[in-house]
C-alpha cells in the first residue's frame, strides 16, 4: 500500500486522476477502522491532511462553505449559530478525540446510512462541491448525493472539497438514538430544519434506509398543513394531530432492517418519536419561546 501525501489541492487532484482507486484519508474515522479490521486494503491512500484549505470555512451571505476536513469539534464550537443542526449532530459523533480529527468530508465520502452528519445536511439543504483534475469542480445537490448503500455520486477521479450549506434562518434540531449515552453508532437518527424564508420544513433520516433520506411525504404534508393553518404567520402551536401525522409519515418514510443494533420496527417507531419531538422543539423555538436545547458541552 502506497501512502501519498499531496501538499496542495492541485496535487491531490493529480494523484486521484492518476490513481482513481486511491482512497482519500483525512481524519481516518472510517478508513482506519476498515484498514485495521482488514475490511479494505486499498492500493493507495491519499492523505489530505497537508491541504490547509480543506480545514477552512467561509461564512457567506446565504451559505457556509465548509471545508471537507473541518473537524466536528470546530463545527460545534464555532458554527453553532450558522449550522445549528450540524453542530448538534457533531456532538454525537464518536468521542472527543475523533471529533477533533473527523470532518463532514469523510462522512460524505463513506456515505454510510449511519453517518451522523447526513440527516442534518439533508435537512439544512446543501450542495457538495467536488472536483477533478480533468473536469474541474461541480456542485452536487445533497438530494442527489447518496446513490446506494455506502455509495455516492462521486466519479472515481473526484475529491470532495467542501460543502455549501444554507445558513440557518430558522430553528434546526437533530436527534439520534443509540443504545448508550455517548460514543455510539446510530440505531437511527433524525434531522429537521425550519426554513421560514421559503415556508418549508426539511427533514433527514439516518440509519433507517439503505441511504440517508428525506421524509418527503411528511415534509409535503407538513408544509401544506402549516400553510393552510397560517402557522408561519400566526405562530400558533402546531395541533397535535398535525404533529402526529407528520411523525407517522416520517416513520413511514423509513425503510429499515433488523440488525445487531436494533430491529426494523423499533427504528420505524423511534423515527416517529424523534420526528414529533424535534418538530415540537423547533416550532416552539420558531414561535419565539426559546427553550434552550443544547448541552453545555
Amino acid at each position: 500500500m502506497d501512502f501519498l501525501r499531496p501538499a496542495t489541492w492541485e496535487e491531490a487532484l493529480a494523484v486521484k486522476a492518476e490513481h482513481p482507486t486511491a482512497v482519500p484519508i483525512a481524519g481516518g474515522t472510517d478508513v482506519m477502522v476498515e484498514i485495521n479490521f482488514d475490511h479494505r486494503r486499498p492500493e493507495y491512500l491519499v492523505d489530505l491532511n497537508r491541504i490547509s484549505e480543506l480545514q477552512d470555512w467561509h461564512v457567506g451571505e446565504k451559505t457556509v462553505q465548509l471545508g471537507a476536513s473541518v473537524p466536528y469539534s470546530r463545527i460545534m464550537e464555532e458554527l453553532r449559530a450558522e449550522l445549528p443542526g450540524l453542530a448538534l449532530a457533531s456532538h454525537t459523533v464518536a468521542s472527543p478525540q475523533i471529533r477533533n480529527r473527523g470532518g463532514v468530508g469523510g462522512n460524505l465520502g463513506t456515505a454510510s446510512p449511519a453517518g451522523d452528519a447526513h440527516p442534518a445536511l439533508l435537512a439544512a439543504d446543501c450542495e457538495v462541491e467536488v472536483e477533478s483534475q480533468a473536469r474541474g469542480s461541480r456542485l452536487i445537490p445533497i438530494d442527489a448525493f447518496f446513490t446506494g448503500v455506502k455509495r455516492n455520486a462521486l466519479e472515481a477521479d473526484e475529491l470532495i472539497k467542501s460543502v455549501h450549506i444554507k445558513k440557518a434562518e430558522g430553528p434546526q434540531q437533530f436527534s439520534k438514538v443509540g443504545t448508550r449515552n455517548a460514543m455510539v453508532i446510530a440505531v437511527c437518527a433524525f434531522g429537521i430544519a425550519l426554513h421560514p424564508e421559503t415556508r418549508t420544513v426539511r427533514t433527514g433520516i439516518g440509519s433507517a434506509a439503505p441511504t440517508p433520506i428525506r421524509a418527503k411525504a411528511a415534509e409535503e404534508f407538513l408544509n401544506a398543513a402549516l400553510e393552510e393553518g397560517g402557522f408561519w404567520d400566526n405562530g400558533k402551536i402546531i395541533t397535535p394531530s398535525i404533529a402526529k401525522r407528520f411523525a407517522e409519515l416520517c416513520s413511514g418514510a423509513a425503510n429499515p432492517i433488523d440488525d445487531v443494533r436494533g430491529t426494523a420496527s423499533y427504528r420505524r417507531h423511534a423515527v416517529g418519536v424523534m420526528a414529533r419531538r424535534t418538530l415540537g422543539w423547533t416550532w416552539e423555538s420558531y414561535r419565539g419561546k426559546s427553550r434552550g436545547t443544547e448541552g453545555v458541552a
Binding site: 434540531q173 438514538v177 449515552n181 423499533y266 418519536v273 419531538r277 422543539w281 436545547t293
Partner: protein, 802 residues
C-alpha cells in the same frame, strides 16, 4: 462514611491489649489508602502492557480461526501460505510437538483443531512471519475445507434424543454422573421438602429468566512474547491471571518439563476472569521452539472476542412461595448455563450457580438443579461473579414479584428473609462469620435520593443529564424515574474441596543501612491492586518503609489465580504468614546477638517497628541494621485457607465454600419510556468488606464491579446467531461498554465486620458488587415502566414493545 471498625491486630499473650501492636506505628501499612505504584504510569499511558513487548529479531504469530461453528475438517492446505516471503512457519495440529489438548479443569481444548471444529473462531492453523501484516496475509492463504455438522445451540438441541455430541468420547471426571454427554456437569441441591413446604405458601411466584452473554472486555488484548532458550526450553512473558495453572497446561503441550518453561508476568490490561484460561501462551511457545526465534503474538480487538471465554449465558426457571406475613416457604429452580464448546471452568460455575441460587435468604426447603451445557456456542468460563451473577438476576426479580404479590415493600420483604451469621446455606453449610444482609439493605435505602429533574436549569435543558445524553433524544418528554433494590451473595476463594493455597517469599535485608523487605509472589496484578496491598502488608508485619515487589514469575511457588475475590485473602494471607516467620527469625537473631544486654529480649512481646526491634511498651532494643548486618532472612511458605468439601452429587450437601461476601445496591434510573432509552442516575452500594486493607482501592473495586453489572443490565451482550452459532458483534462498535456518561454516581458505604478466619478479617470484595448491580438496575427500570423484563440486558425494543 459510617463504618464499624474491627480490631484484629495481635494482642499480648495475656490477652490484654498493649500500647503498641505490630505495624501500628508504621506508615503506609494495612488500612491506609496508599497509592498504586503503577497508577501514574497507567494514567499517562506509559505503563508497558504485554502487547508492548519487543525483542530483537522477533517474529509475529498469527492464528487462523474457524469460519464455521461446527464442522469436520476435511483438509488444510498450507502450501500457498508457506510461499509468502517473510513467513517462517505455518503449522497445523500435525506439527504440534506433544499433548494436543489443554484445559483448566479438564484438557478438552485442542491447541489447534484436529478432526473437527466446535465453535466459531476456534484456532485451526498458525503462522509465524517477520511482520504482523505478512503473518495475517499468509494466514488468509491457508485453505481449510469444512464439512458442516448439525449445531448444538441450546438445552433442547443438546439433549434431543438424536443430538450430535459435541465431544464424542468423554473421559472427564463429570462424564459418569451427567444425564447426557452434552451436559458438562449437573449439580442438584435438595434440602428439606420443597413440594411439601409449598403447601404452606399463601402466594407462589414463578418466573423464567434469561441472562445474555457478557464479555470481560478487558482493554489489553491477549498478548505475549515467547523466547526460545539455549537449554531447549522457553521463556514466556505473558499477561495472565494464574502463572502456575498456565504452566501446568503449557508444559505438556510443548513436551517440556515444567522447569524448562519459565514464565514471567507481563503488564496485564484487565482480566475479570477472561485470562484464567490459556490464550496465545502455547501457540507462541510452539512457534518459538519451532523457528528458534522469539515470537510475539497480539490479538486485535476482533480476535480478542474469540480469544477468551465469556460469561455463561443462562436460562433460569424459579418458583418461590411465601406466607402472607412475608416469610419464604420454599424455592425450586433450574439453571441452565451454556458452557459452549469446551469445558473451561463450567463445572465450577455450575457449582456456584447451584449453591448460591437461593441468594442471601433463609429458605429451608429447596429443590435446586443447575446444569452446564456443551454446545457449539462460544466457550464460556470465568467472569467476575462466576455463576452467582446469573442466579442473583433471577432470584432478585423473584423477590420483587413476591413483595408485589404480598403488597409489601421490597426492601422490607428482603430484610424479613435475610440470612445472618449462623444461617444454614442450602448446602447445609453454616454461615459462620458476619452476614449483614438486612443492614446493607437498610443503608442503601436510608440514603437521600438524588434530586429529580436535574436536567432542568435556568439555561434550559442539559441533555447530558437525560436518557440519550448528547444524542439529544428528549428534553424531558416521556422520562419516568424508577427505583430498584437488590442484594447478593458471592463465595470467596476456590470451593468444593479444591486445595487452594498461595505462596509468598519474603526477604529481609539491610541495604545502605536501611532495612528493605522484598515480596516475591506469583500473584497476577490485573488491576485489583495486589502490588499496593502486598507492600502494605509487608510494612505492617515487618515495620519497614522500603518494600520491593519482585516481578511475578514461576521462580516462586503458585499464588493461585487472581480471581474469585481471593487474592488479598490468599496471597495477602501468605505474605502475612511468611512475614511473621521472617519476624520470628529476625528476633531470634536479635536474641542471639543482644539477648544478654537487656531482659526485655526474653520477657517482652517484641515487635518490628520503624526499622527497629521494640517492646510492646515502645522501648527500642536494637535497630534492624544492627541485628541483620549483612545477613538476609528469606522465607518461602505456602499458605492455605481452611479446607472445603465437595458438594454431594445427589443432595448437594457439603461445606463447599470458604467465605461469603455480600453487597446491596439501590438503583435510581430515568427511562425515556417512548424511546426505551435508560439513564442510570445513581447506583448506591453498601458492602461488607471485612477489613479495608486499602480503602481507596476498595471503593475503586466496588465502583468498577457496579459498573460492570450496569453494563450487562442495559447494553453489554455478545450476540450469537442461533442459526449459525456465529458471533455477530465482535467489536467495540457493536459490543457496547458503559462510557463515563453512562456511569452514574456510585456512592459506596462499606462495613468492616471482620471474618475471624481471614487474615486481618478481610473479605473478598471484587465480585459481590457485580452481582446486585444488574438486578437493581432492572428493578428500577421495571419500577419506571411497569414492564416484566425477564431478560438482561434490556434493549430499547423490550421497553417499547417493538
Amino acid at each position: 462514611m459510617a463504618r464499624i471498625m474491627a480490631r484484629t491486630t495481635a494482642q499480648s499473650p495475656a490477652g490484654a491489649p498493649t500500647d503498641v501492636t505490630q505495624g501500628s506505628r508504621t506508615k503506609g501499612g494495612v488500612g491506609e489508602s496508599t497509592l498504586r505504584p503503577d497508577g501514574t504510569l497507567k494514567v499517562t499511558g506509559e505503563f508497558a502492557y504485554s502487547s508492548d513487548m519487543w525483542h530483537e529479531d522477533m517474529l509475529w504469530g498469527q492464528i487462523l480461526r474457524s469460519t464455521v461453528a461446527h464442522a469436520e475438517i476435511v483438509s488444510i492446505d498450507t502450501a500457498e501460505a508457506l510461499t509468502v516471503p517473510g513467513v517462517h512457519a505455518v503449522l497445523t495440529h500435525e506439527d504440534l510437538p506433544a499433548a494436543r489438548n489443554y484445559g483448566m479443569e479438564f484438557q478438552d481444548t485442542p491447541v489447534l483443531a484436529y478432526g473437527k471444529v466446535r465453535h466459531h473462531g476456534e484456532p485451526v492453523a498458525l503462522v509465524a512471519a517477520d511482520h504482523p501484516e505478512t503473518a495475517r496475509r499468509a494466514a488468509a492463504k491457508i485453505k481449510v475445507e469444512y464439512r458442516e455438522l448439525p449445531l448444538i445451540t441450546d438445552e433442547a438441541s443438546a439433549t434431543a434424543p438424536d443430538a450430535v455430541l459435541v465431544h464424542e468420547h468423554r473421559a472427564d471426571h463429570h462424564a459418569a454422573h451427567v444425564p447426557h454427554p452434552n451436559i458438562v456437569h449437573r449439580q442438584p441441591i435438595i434440602r428439606g421438602n420443597a413440594t411439601e413446604a409449598a403447601q404452606r405458601a399463601d402466594v407462589i411466584v414463578k418466573g423464567e429468566y434469561t441472562f445474555g452473554m457478557q464479555d470481560q472486555a478487558f482493554l489489553g488484548p491477549e498478548s505475549g512474547l515467547a523466547v526460545p532458550a539455549e537449554d531447549g526450553g522457553v521463556d514466556l512473558y505473558v499477561a495472565t491471571q494464574w502463572l502456575h495453572s498456565d504452566l501446568q497446561q503449557i508444559a505438556p503441550c510443548l513436551g517440556l518439563p515444567e522447569e524448562k518453561v519459565r514464565m514471567t508476568m507481563a503488564g496485564v490490561g484487565g482480566a475479570f476472569g477472561g485470562r484464567e484460561d490459556i490464550s496465545m501462551q502455547i501457540l507462541a511457545s510452539v512457534l518459538a521452539l519451532r523457528t528458534g526465534k522469539p515470537v510475539k503474538m497480539v490479538y486485535n480487538r476482533y480476535e480478542s472476542f474469540f480469544g477468551h471465554v465469556h460469561r455463561h449465558p443462562a436460562k433460569l426457571s424459579y418458583e418461590h412461595g411465601a406466607t402472607r406475613d412475608g416469610k419464604l416457604t420454599h424455592m425450586k429452580c433450574k439453571i441452565v448455563l451454556d458452557g459452549g464448546a469446551y469445558m473451561s471452568s463450567t463445572p465450577s460455575v455450575v457449582g456456584n450457580a447451584s449453591s448460591l441460587s437461593v441468594g442471601p435468604y433463609v429458605v429451608d426447603d429447596v429443590e435446586i438443579e443447575a446444569i452446564g451445557l456443551y454446545s457449539n456456542n462460544p466457550p464460556c468460563g470465568a467472569m467476575r461473579g462466576f455463576g452467582a451473577v446469573q442466579a442473583c438476576f433471577a432470584y432478585e426479580a423473584q423477590m420483587d414479584k413476591l413483595a408485589a404479590e404480598l403488597d409489601m415493600d421490597p426492601v422490607e420483604f428482603r430484610q424479613k428473609n435475610a440470612m445472618e451469621q449462623g444461617t444454614l446455606m442450602p448446602t447445609g453449610q453454616r454461615v459462620d462469620s458476619p452476614a449483614p444482609v438486612a443492614e446493607l439493605l437498610r443503608r442503601v435505602k436510608a440514603r437521600p435520593l438524588p434530586p429529580e429533574r436535574e436536567w432542568e436549569s435556568s439555561e434550559g435543558v442539559d441533555v447530558r443529564a437525560l436518557p440519550g445524553g448528547l444524542s439529544n433524544t428528549t428534553h424531558g418528554e416521556g422520562v419516568v424515574r424508577g427505583i430498584g433494590y437488590a442484594v447478593g451473595i458471592k463465595n470467596v476463594g476456590f470451593s468444593e474441596g479444591f486445595d487452594d493455597y498461595s505462596t509468598a517469599r519474603i526477604r529481609m535485608e539491610v541495604i545502605n543501612g536501611e532495612p528493605v523487605a522484598t515480596v516475591h509472589t506469583a500473584a497476577a496484578e490485573v488491576g485489583q491492586g495486589g502490588v499496593t496491598i502486598h507492600a502494605q502488608i509487608a510494612r505492617t508485619e515487618l515495620g519497614v518503609q522500603q518494600v520491593t515487589i519482585a516481578p511475578a514469575d514461576t521462580q516462586v511457588g503458585s499464588a493461585g489465580s487472581t480471581s474469585a475475590g481471593r487474592q488479598t485473602y490468599m496471597t495477602g494471607g501468605a505474605i502475612k504468614n511468611s512475614c511473621g516467620i521472617v519476624r520470628e527469625k529476625v528476633l531470634e537473631i536479635g536474641r542471639r546477638k543482644f539477648g544478654s544486654y537487656h531482659p526485655a529480649w526474653a520477657s517482652a512481646e517484641l515487635l518490628l517497628e520503624g526499622g527497629k526491634i521494640v517492646t510492646d511498651g515502645g522501648e527500642v532494643l536494637a535497630t534492624l541494621a544492627e541485628v541483620l548486618e549483612n545477613e538476609a532472612v528469606e522465607v518461602e511458605q505456602e499458605w492455605r485457607h481452611r479446607p472445603t468439601q465437595p458438594f454431594d452429587l445427589v443432595t448437594g450437601q457439603g461445606d463447599g465454600h470458604v467465605q461469603y461476601s455480600f453487597a446491596a445496591h439501590r438503583a435510581v434510573v430515568e427511562v425515556d419510556t417512548e424511546l426505551g432509552l435508560v439513564k442510570v442516575i445513581e447506583l448506591a452500594c453498601a458492602q461488607d468488606v471485612g477489613k479495608a486493607v486499602n480503602p481507596l482501592s476498595v471503593i475503586g473495586q466496588i465502583q468498577g464491579g457496579t459498573t460492570q453489572g450496569l453494563g450487562v443490565a442495559v447494553m453489554e451482550e455478545i450476540i450469537v446467531d442461533p442459526k449459525t452459532a456465529k458471533v455477530k458483534n465482535p467489536s467495540f462498535t457493536d459490543y457496547l461498554l458503559p462510557t463515563i456518561l453512562d456511569t452514574p454516581t456510585i456512592p459506596v458505604d462499606y462495613l468492616e465486620l471482620a471474618d475471624p478466619n481471614a487474615p486481618y478479617g478481610v473479605r473478598g470484595i471484587g465480585e459481590a458488587p457485580t452481582l446486585s448491580s444488574t438486578p437493581a438496575v432492572l428493578a428500577a427500570i421495571r419500577n419506571a415502566t411497569g414492564l416484566e423484563l425477564n431478560r438482561t440486558p434490556v434493549r430499547p425494543e423490550h421497553l417499547t414493545g417493538t
